[in-house]
């Protein structure tokens, strides 16, 4: 196995101006600006092998995006080291840039007024992709991402889901060996989320590409990543198999039910921990091994209109993890 990505004590401080509230604070800041250093990433070390698909988790502001930006060479760390595909990312060597891609769900590199195909052509030239390779990669991407004829329509006319997939294609035309995905499914509907997920999985398999992905969507992580790295306030909290993380910190699932008539909270206690009862609906936390039994019991004994079983919110697990440490 080859190491694709390795960091040692990666640390990043941000410097931001501090302004006192109000107009007077603004005037004061004009003459005497004060700064505050915030440590966004604090001494993170990990190693990722080639072909691994790793989930990178943490609450908002935990330092995920900052880390991805350092690994892609956008940010220079305050201290620490990183080697990605044999390069120091922030040297921004063309050879390195040709082998990686950073996709941020909320940013776009596509040209807005013209069809996505034109941006693809531009990327072909930027990355120096030979014509036969370009055609082959494009065909594959169009196929995998079900882009069809969306490529000939101006980007601004595409739906968010279509645009996101076109965005992925633009980022992958040069077949990066290392793919950094920041919230790739954000804002997408469930069907689109699934498509993007399937694609990421397929890309990882087909090219043995190394992928690091952040997501708030637990399903993304569960379906894609065997290994996860969790950070909180810049500190690495957990690095290991997802199974163990979920067992340890999210030994339960969420069961939501809606009834024809109100149900007493007391009666439901036997089925799991009651989180909330509102009129005709209830939210329960049920241990994983009892989900089927509890659901069956609910359906058997109550006038159920609707029943849902969900994974615990990723933020929840991370919060639990944090409170444990």
């Amino acid at each position: 196995m080859t190491v694709a990505l390795q960091t040692k004590g990666l640390t990043k401080d941000y410097r931001s101006p501090v302004k006192e509230p109000g107009l007077w604070g603004g005037v004061k800041a004009l003459f005497d600006r004060k700064y505050k250093d915030t440590r966004a990433v604090d001494g993170i070390s990990f190693t990722i092998q080639e072909g691994e698909l790793v989930g990178f988790l943490g609450a908002n502001g935990a330092g995920k995006t900052t880390t991805l930006k350092m690994l892609s060479g956008l940010l220079t760390p305050t201290s620490g080291e990183a080697v990605a595909l044999g390069h120091v990312p922030w040297k921004r060597e063309a050879e390195f840039q040709k082998k990686i891609s950073l996709v941020m769900g909320q940013r776009t590199q596509l040209w807005w007024e013209i069809p996505a195909y034109e941006t693809f052509r531009l990327n072909q030239a930027i990355y120096g992709i030979p014509e036969p390779d370009f055609r082959r990669n494009l065909d594959e991407l169009v196929d995998l991402l079900e882009l069809g004829d969306h490529l000939t329509v101006p980007v601004k006319k595409l739906s968010l889901g279509q645009r996101m997939r076109a965005e992925m294609a633009a980022a992958l035309l040069h077949q990066p060996r290392l793919l950094l995905l920041d919230e790739p499914t954000i804002g997408l509907d469930v069907v689109m989320q699934k498509k993007v997920r399937e694609f990421v999985k397929a890309y990882n398999k087909r090219y043995n590409a190394t992928i690091m992905l952040t997501s708030h969507n637990m399903t993304d992580v569960v379906e894609l990543c065997r290994r996860v790295i969790v950070i909180e306030r810049g500190v690495l909290l957990y690095d290991g198999p997802l199974d163990r993380l979920v067992e340890r910190y999210a030994g339960h699932k969420i069961l939501r039910a809606r009834f024809k008539t109100p149900v007493a909270a007391e009666d439901l206690k036997a089925l799991g921990t009651v989180v909330r009862v509102e009129d005709n609906s209830v939210v329960l936390e049920v241990p994983r091994d009892r989900i089927a039994a509890s659901a069956a019991a609910l359906l058997g004994s109550y006038p159920v209109l609707d029943l849902d079983v969900e994974e615990v919110d990723i933020d929840d697990i991370v919060r639990r993890l944090f409170s444990h440490s």
Binding site: L74, Q97, W111, E113, E118, Q124, I126, Y127
Partner: protein
């Protein structure tokens, strides 16, 4: 090299795609052209010349302003400011691409469209002009004019690029650029020939790079400067270009470093 050609080509497509912006731009430019023309027309009245400019020369100056504005004052400043403050600049920094080369290609596409349109407008107006225009006969004048205009457009590009790069530090990033542009049009002679100004002010301006952007090429075209003097001024213009090219690259490098240090 090919990447910049492709960037030029798709930027051309996009400029043409945004028809309404383009038309609005051109209508605005034409309104300026028309009002300057009427203004000078009225000022000249029946006088044969004004401030050393004959009637055809003055009207030619006004029309040249329109063409030079379209060729020189396009730049990518506002786009750069926007891309820095929105963080979109990141998507360029992670790709193997020179942002300068890229921006220059995009700017060239804008110029292509705007200059073509300016020629059309000038043709339209000159068909209506009484008293004719001044057209130089000497091919050397044309060559010098073209050289001065090309240098002027590069000078503007890098100057504006430098000012826009300040957006890496100022959060209200448009400010410096706005001040710059306001001063620029005046100091470059894009409203009137600088001969209108008092001697002292004119002298002071001539020590700056601004007059090289419109005033100087226009005077070359009108053969107000001898070829030898023109060549000398061209050399100074080239020196200014070298200065601002170096400054723009330096500010950019520092800006990117600070962006990398502080985050977007």
């Amino acid at each position: 090299m090919k990447k910049y050609l492709v960037a030029y080509s798709i930027s051309l497509q996009e400029t043409l795609q945004r028809r309404s912006t383009l038309i609005m731009d051109r209508v605005g430019g034409f309104a300026v052209l028309l009002s300057l023309y009427s203004f000078w027309n009225a000022l000249l009245g029946t006088k044969p010349s004004f401030l050393g400019y004959t009637r055809p020369e003055m009207l030619t100056y006004v029309l040249l302003i329109n063409i030079l504005r379209s060729f020189v004052f396009t730049g990518r400043g506002w786009q750069l400011v926007g891309e820095i403050s929105s963080g979109r600049i990141s998507s360029y920094l992670v790709r193997p691409l020179s942002y300068h080369g890229y921006a220059l290609s995009l700017d060239l596409a804008q110029k292509t469209v705007h200059v073509a349109s300016a020629f059309f407008e000038v043709a339209l107006l000159s068909a209506l002009v009484r008293g004719g225009l001044f057209l130089p006969r000497d091919p050397a004048t044309w060559a010098l004019f073209l050289a001065a205009a090309v240098l002027a457009s590069l000078l503007f590009f890098f100057m504006e690029f430098m000012v826009s790069s300040l957006a890496f530090w100022t959060s209200e990033s448009g400010g410096p650029l706005f001040c710059f542009e306001l001063f620029l049009a005046f100091a470059a002679g894009a409203f009137f020939p600088l001969d209108v100004l008092p001697e002292g002010l004119r002298r002071a301006l001539s020590a700056t790079p601004f007059p090289y952007m419109v005033y100087f090429p226009a005077r070359v075209f009108l053969e107000k400067v001898s070829l030898a003097e023109g060549a000398r001024l061209l050399a100074i213009e080239a020196a200014w270009l070298a200065v601002f090219l170096a400054a723009a690259l330096a500010v950019w490098r520092r800006g990117v470093r600070s962006y990398a240090a502080e985050g977007g």
